[in-house]
Symmetry: C2
Subunit: 134 residues, 2 copies
């Protein structure tokens, strides 16, 4: 069911500083920041050839990464996103196996304009998993 790894998301407290680190110290080419008010984050993408890194900075009072950064003030790996061929079939299979889908269980439109779901990290060894329709 899990397809290719679409991205790893890393929450950071200061997107400009993190972008500078990935540009200068790690020798990558981060994009310009993209403000995504409907997702409560500002994001920078880094293409590493076979997948992407996404650096996320909280935006607004209800940012979904605010609690994570409160616990991890200098940042950390927040989630991994895998592509799936059919997000509804994937969701139904996961539920039949007893896995918990976050929120109301219905796919939402994610930061790439495609339907996404998040799975409960307690069901997957402490890893927050996002599924994105291919």
């Amino acid at each position: 069911m899990l397809g290719r790894l679409n991205h790893i998301a890393i929450a950071v407290p200061d997107l400009a500083a993190a972008s500078a680190t990935y540009r200068n110290t790690l020798g990558t080419r981060p994009t310009a920041p993209q403000v995504l008010p409907e997702h409560g984050v500002t994001v920078v993408f880094i293409d590493v050839g076979n997948t992407k890194i996404e650096l996320l900075e909280p935006l607004g009072a209800d940012s979904p990464i605010a609690a994570f950064l409160a616990k991890n003030p200098s940042g950390g790996m927040h989630h991994v996103c895998y592509e799936v061929a059919n997000i509804i079939a994937a969701r139904d299979h996961l539920k039949s196996e007893g896995a918990r889908i976050l929120g109301d269980g219905e796919p939402k439109i994610g930061a790439h304009g495609k339907p996404v779901l998040f799975l409960h990290p307690k069901d997957f060894n402490g890893t927050l998993i996002e599924l994105e329709q291919e």
Copy 2:
């Protein structure tokens, strides 16, 4: 400098249970466990097409992931590994930029038989980064 993402490593307390979750719930094909006494882990590999997931279970009293699992008993994302074309040139550039290399700063032979280095997570937004010679 950073090349493709070689793998994401997830520390787990029970490799058999985690493998079953990735096989049955997430629909992947984990390998049989490989015992790596010189690295203090037992590992299962999962190919997701463009990169790999590695599930790591502590092995022995001095396992390098024991402290992480003591803090995160149900597991969690432990590190990410990127390939680099020249690990010595990468190391020297990182040091010139003020980044800290873990251990004595000399590459060791990693779990794939290639030279590897680990970078201090405090220099990279709480992310433990492994570099592996291509």
